[in-house]
Amino acid sequence: MSERLPAPDFDAQNYARPNQNWICGHACDGNACRPGPDAKGRCCATAECKPVLELKPGETKGRWKCTRTGGACEAGPLPDGSCCRPIAKCSPVPTLRWWRGRLTLAVIAASCAVLLVVLGNPPWRNNFISPGEISQPHSGEAFTALAATNQLNQGCGACHVAGNTGPRGMVHAALHADPGILDLKKLAMAHAATPTAIDESCLKCHAGRNMHQPSAPPVSCSFCHMEHQGRMMAATTDANCNFCHGDATKMAVAAGAGNVSEPPIHHFAEDHPQFRFITEKLRDPDTLKFNHQLHLTGATIPNLPGGQKLDCAFCHQPDAAGAFMKPVAFEKNCRVCHSLQFDPETPQLMLPHGNADFVSAYLRSLPKQYATLAAKENPADVNGFVTAKLAGLRTQFGSGEDLERRIFFSTATFGPEAQVGELSGATRALFPGCAYCHEVKAAAGGSPQITKPVQTEHWLAQAKFNHAKHLNINCAQCHDAVHSKDTADILLPAQESCATCHSPRGGVADTCAECHTYHKPPLLAR
């Protein structure tokens, strides 16, 4: 018994025609008709023969003859000349290849249809073709309203020229893009970070492409700020900064253009240059004389009224934002010890602070001052009190002019030193004269010119700093005040101190953007 397939033999009479798309519908029964379907899939079978009219000479009507290939049939053709044995038409069957062709056409049609429908319908279009979520500031109703007021297009068109103009607009924009579609050379040779056409869109709202150096070459917005990356616009990375700052050539060019020469920087902890106040050995120009070491560690420094020792926090308070410290104020931070009492006998009388004219006025109105004091303490004999005090002053200091002069210009630190009473437990500090702390110059005519002290709030002007984030660090870890005797010392830490924490080893973020910003208003004067 043979297991062979039923037809190990082949058809010796006919070809197989896989190039035709239609097969006779009767082929599955093994009875494929002779003509077969035509190229469009219509059954061509009509009848078994095509009768021919035989007209013998002398006849008029003639006789229809059967012309069947296998031999004439018995019945013969019908009188009207049609064959008496029609073949039933079949339903031709398309081949698999035909189906594949149809499927291909269907896929093409479906693709085109879907694309045209979706692209022609703006809300669907934007959702469909957007290559990623837009950042939160650039989406939503607020942005739409803003776009309207700025006369921008809505939706994608707010930034993209091709945005809202449908498929035709897209094609137009593509054909006019720069570099163009086939501009392979230009594409390959494009320089990174060169401003591009889409930067114009950014600048419509974000005006002014502030470069952090006036002469720095312009950088494309999209080089650092990529849209369509999600709700949060991605933060810039060190790579963006290193694009220029890590490139020695670029830095050399920048130096040549008149900027300060900077070496290439790659990483904060590795090769960030030392802070300039150290390298250039800058000094604090403040004219106020203050000795941190004395105040923080001196034996003679009394405790504060609350009983605690004088510490950094008593004078240096963070401002409202918490980033920097409020300027040290005399009334709040100094007078508690430096009461400006000029009369050792009368410590209640204190000079006003802040304006030399006020001091002069005060001194010239001393009798009045004493009288007011007497009225409070000894109202019975005001005049006698005043007179006695003034006499005492004269004895000590000489004339009123001398007193005034001495108050303004004396730098003496010795002289009659009286332990005058407690003021809520605080010990009076020495007050020889204004010049003890201030720089006092004599103007023409002898009047004192006290140079206003300058408190620089922000030393490292190119960087951001936030004390609020550093609260868990002791002041002394960064600010070496304990060893500073001169006001001119700048008590800021060196770069290595920051790098203790802001480095891969220290574990705190050490990207450029942590401290530096790129877009800034023009440089503050130093």
Partner: protein, 271 residues
């Protein structure tokens, strides 16, 4: 070494060298501005050459080189283009509906190509080993013949066995009526036909002497039908993978062209 081994070696070596080269270039130049454009053009060039194969197949009368050579190039370039695709995507995932559809189209086209390659190398040997050879379009007619013969045996004028007739009506009529067991044959399982044959064997217990001969003939017919089914299944598989590969290629091409238009239209020159 056979000619096919040589082709495989040459192709693999070329592919490995090209892959190494591409990965090295990728590491070196991936920071370039417009890198995505350059990889995109490389990918499009690869896809274009791959698509041209269909054009060559439609022009067999022109002396354009052997289809065998073209197919070798198509296969290895196909693998390489998949790598270019991954490089173009920066080895990440696409974002946005359009890009997702485009990526899926590419994955389906190249995936179906790999499936087709597997089929083309594995299935013919199975067909040849099975024995016999039929032209796919002739299978329905042959099946009809086997069915007629089986019906004649079981239900025909001379069939006098109710046992066989009942069995035929219950089990075999369905089996002979059309192509069966496609998936079984694709995974080389003989379970379905084997079960039928076992049942036929069981039937012998209830059959007379004359019937046993008929059962034997029926068994032969079952085997023949099974062989036809096997050939149909494997030849159909060899044709059907192209139903995914080719239509989706056209879809992919349309989406790709649109992708190029959109990229240039919307980029404004930015990368």
């Amino acid at each position: 070494m056979t000619r096919f081994h040589r082709q495989l070696c040459a192709g693999l070596i070329a592919l490995i060298i090209a892959t190494a080269g591409a990965l090295w270039l990728n590491a070196k130049y991936s920071a370039l501005a417009n890198y995505a454009y350059l990889t995109g053009w490389a990918l499009l060039a690869g896809m274009f050459v791959l698509t041209i194969y269909n054009v060559r197949k439609k022009l067999p009368f022109l002396p354009l080189g052997k289809s065998e050579t073209w197919l070798q190039i198509h296969i290895y370039l196909g693998f390489f283009t998949t790598l270019l695709f991954l490089i173009h995507l920066k080895f990440g995932l696409p974002h946005g509906w359009f890009e997702i559809v485009l990526a899926w189209l590419f994955v389906l086209v190249s995936g179906s190509g790999m499936v087709g390659l597997f089929f083309s190398r594995v299935l013919p040997r199975r067909l040849a080993t099975r024995g016999g050879e039929v032209i796919f379009e002739k299978i329905p007619a042959l099946r009809h013949g086997v069915k007629t013969a089986a019906e004649e045996l079981a239900l025909g004028k001379d069939a006098k066995s109710p046992v066989i007739a009942e069995f035929y009506a219950k089990r075999l009529a369905v089996f002979f009526s059309g192509p069966k067991n496609f998936w079984h044959h694709l995974v080389e399982s003989r379970r379905a036909a084997g079960a039928l044959l076992a049942e036929l064997e069981d039937l012998r217990r209830f059959a007379t002497e004359a019937d046993r001969e008929k059962i034997g003939k029926l068994e032969a017919l079952v085997r023949q039908k099974d062989g036809l089914d096997y050939h149909r299944a494997l030849q159909l598989a060899l044709k059907l993978w192209l139903f995914v590969h080719i239509p989706l290629t056209y879809g992919l091409m349309i989406f790709t062209i649109l992708h190029v238009v959109m990229v240039f239209g919307f980029s404004g020159g930015a990368r």
